[in-house]
């Protein structure tokens, strides 16, 4: 028996970049956050070769969950081909040897910034959302120790008051992205800066969503088939962005969340935000192949 038989040969880095103890901690914290839906769990948040605020929280979760068979999709604001999405995708593939994809239906793990894909996710898929600010109470309670007590007591009066104030001042709820939502009837969470359009997709979803904030060192989760209810007054209905009637100028698809492209003449053109959905629609239009899956929204409406 010698040292070399007891240890592994030297490698330049651990599988999946993070060392064993870091991944073990993350797995434990993920389990905890699944056990208490919507409750923020603190974690160490290691250094990764990327600046804080660029998706380091999501990246650490992805690196922890992947194995060489996991097919990974990374999107940024709905697009697979933005620089940030491309570099994260390439990084994961390089350090974990995972196959990558742009097709939502093919992916096992989807890391995303600010969007949830338009195609319905399945039980065997995991969505990892990058979160810049995990604390929904921050705007009403700057003291984080007190905010934690408020979560513990389900003391969300101030959150509601904020909505009341917005309606009083502006006639409607002004909260655009990061719409505060009650998870499993207990904890209010920020669903990361996804548009209001995407929040209903989390409600009773088949897939597991893990939300991770690298800079703020907090992780929380929405387990499959869990209630996610945006905070709304009983007589002021929740409103999604009015994108249902818009048509994508590039693919012609209609009834999905759009990016607004300002034109020289002052008008606006629209492009579908989920770039892969646009690509699939163009292929279908060209009769190449029909690969589009079921979508959450049908004709611009979310079926109840």
């Amino acid at each position: 028996m010698s040292l070399s038989t007891l240890t592994k040969p030297w490698e330049a880095m651990s599988y999946g970049f993070l060392d064993g103890s870091a991944k073990r901690e993350l797995r434990r914290k993920i389990l905890k956050s699944v056990a208490v839906p919507g409750c923020q769990m603190p974690y160490a948040s290691r250094e990764v070769p990327m600046a804080r605020g660029w998706g380091t929280g999501g990246l650490q979760v992805s690196l922890t969950l992947v194995n060489p068979q996991t097919r990974v999709k990374v999107i940024d604001q709905g697009a697979d081909d933005s620089v940030n999405a491309a570099s994260i995708r390439r990084f994961i593939a390089r350090v974990a040897g995972t196959p990558t994809t742009m097709d939502t239906l093919e992916a096992d793990l989807i890391q995303s910034r600010h969007r949830i894909p338009e195609e319905i996710l399945r039980e065997d898929q995991v969505l990892v959302l990058q979160v810049p600010n995990p604390e929904p109470l921050r705007s009403v309670q700057p003291n984080m120790s007190i905010a934690r007590q408020m979560h513990a007591d389900a003391d969300y009066g101030r959150m509601w008051l904020q909505l009341y104030e917005q309606i009083v001042r502006s006639g409607r709820v002004m909260q655009g992205a990061s719409y505060p939502s009650l998870v499993h009837g207990r904890h209010v969470m920020t669903p990361s800066p996804i548009p209001r359009w995407d929040v209903p997709k989390l409600h009773m979803a088949k897939h597991l969503t893990i939300l991770s904030a690298g800079r703020e060192k907090r992780i929380f989760a929405v387990p499959p088939y869990t209630r996610v209810e945006p905070l709304v007054f009983s007589d002021v209905p929740y409103k999604i962005e009015e994108h249902g009637a818009l048509t994508c100028t590039r693919s012609g698809t209609k009834g999905f969340f759009m990016n607004e492209i300002p034109q020289d003449d002052g008008s606006s053109a629209f492009e579908v935000s989920d770039s892969e959905w646009g690509v699939k629609t163009i292929r279908a239009n060209d009769r190449e192949a029909e690969t589009r899956g079921e979508t959450w929204y049908k004709d611009g409406e979310m079926p109840q």
């Binding site: 007590q149 101030r158 008051l161 104030e165 009083v168 001042r169 007054f233 009983s234 007589d235």
Partner: protein
């Protein structure tokens, strides 16, 4: 020496508020020493004494903001039982939100200065679980109206309001959920004399219309004389004298009360 008073014989209701033997020290300073107080439903109890007499500490205890070292506190209300000082943080918060209203001398303690006035009032109902915007709006309007707040300023933030108006917002917030107990900590101190009179008048009206049990703390004897049925005089953390308001002012027994009353006149 005057006669020892008997226990109540005609008034058979149990006191709504019953504080027994509370003491509280901060380090070496004994703020409150073995103080008891009670109030029957609809009664207005005045607590007078100079600053440092422990009267505000006692009021904060009644609002469960401060927990004494010893003593007990009960409110004779449906669904409320036992020594309230023993409640946990959650139960305490719910009780204070639904059964007790408080108006502080300093509006910054009781109000969110940059939120709308109606929102400040609505918060009470939000904490209690009201989720209809229309109901919240109506309840806030009603409560502000009852405290004689000008309704055209419904959504003005308190920071833009005068001191008297800020106190009215506090009062509206305090009464929005029709509390069984209203606590007032120097509610008119720092206001102009004329504004003071108007706020006192509003309080008096509310008391008559709604028969709310009140405890009012003030070093201003005029305020106490206007509002209180019974008075407790506190000095150095202890109660030196209690009695009917007119008796305390016209025939004070304790040397300290005499000094206090004569200093005023």
């Amino acid at each position: 020496m005057t006669l020892m008073l008997e226990a109540p014989r005609i008034v058979e209701t149990r006191p709504l508020l019953d504080v027994k033997g509370v003491s509280k020290s901060y380090g070496h300073v004994q703020a409150v020493r073995n103080v008891s107080a009670h109030a029957h439903p609809g009664e207005v109890i005045g607590i007078v004494g100079e600053s440092g007499s422990g009267k505000s500490t006692l009021l904060r205890m009644m609002n469960l903001e401060e927990i004494p070292d010893e003593g007990s506190y009960t409110l004779d209300l449906p669904d409320v039982s036992g020594n309230l000082f023993k409640l946990d943080r959650f139960a305490r918060r719910m009780l204070c939100a639904t059964k007790i209203g408080i108006v502080y001398q300093n509006p910054h303690l009781g109000l969110l200065m940059k939120h709308s006035s109606s929102g400040n009032v609505a918060e009470r109902l939000l904490v209690a679980g009201e989720r209809s915007f229309a109901t919240l709006r109506q309840a806030a309007t009603d409560a502000l109206n009852a405290s004689e707040f000008p309704l055209d300023r419904l959504d003005a933030p308190p920071i833009e309001l005068s001191g008297g108006m800020q106190q009215r917002v506090q009062l509206a917030k305090a009464i929005a959920l029709e509390p069984a107990l209203l606590l007032l900590d120097e509610p008119t101190t720092g206001l102009d004399v004329s504004v003071q009179a108007l706020v006192l008048d509003t309080l008096k009206r509310l008391q008559q219309d709604r028969q709310i049990t009140m405890v009012i703390v003030s070093h201003d004897l005029g305020v106490i004389r206007t509002l209180a049925d019974r008075v407790m005089v506190m000095r150095r953390g202890e109660v030196v004298e209690t009695g009917l308001a007119d008796q305390i002012f016209q025939d004070p027994q304790h040397p300290y009360t005499q000094q206090l009353v004569h200093a005023k006149l």
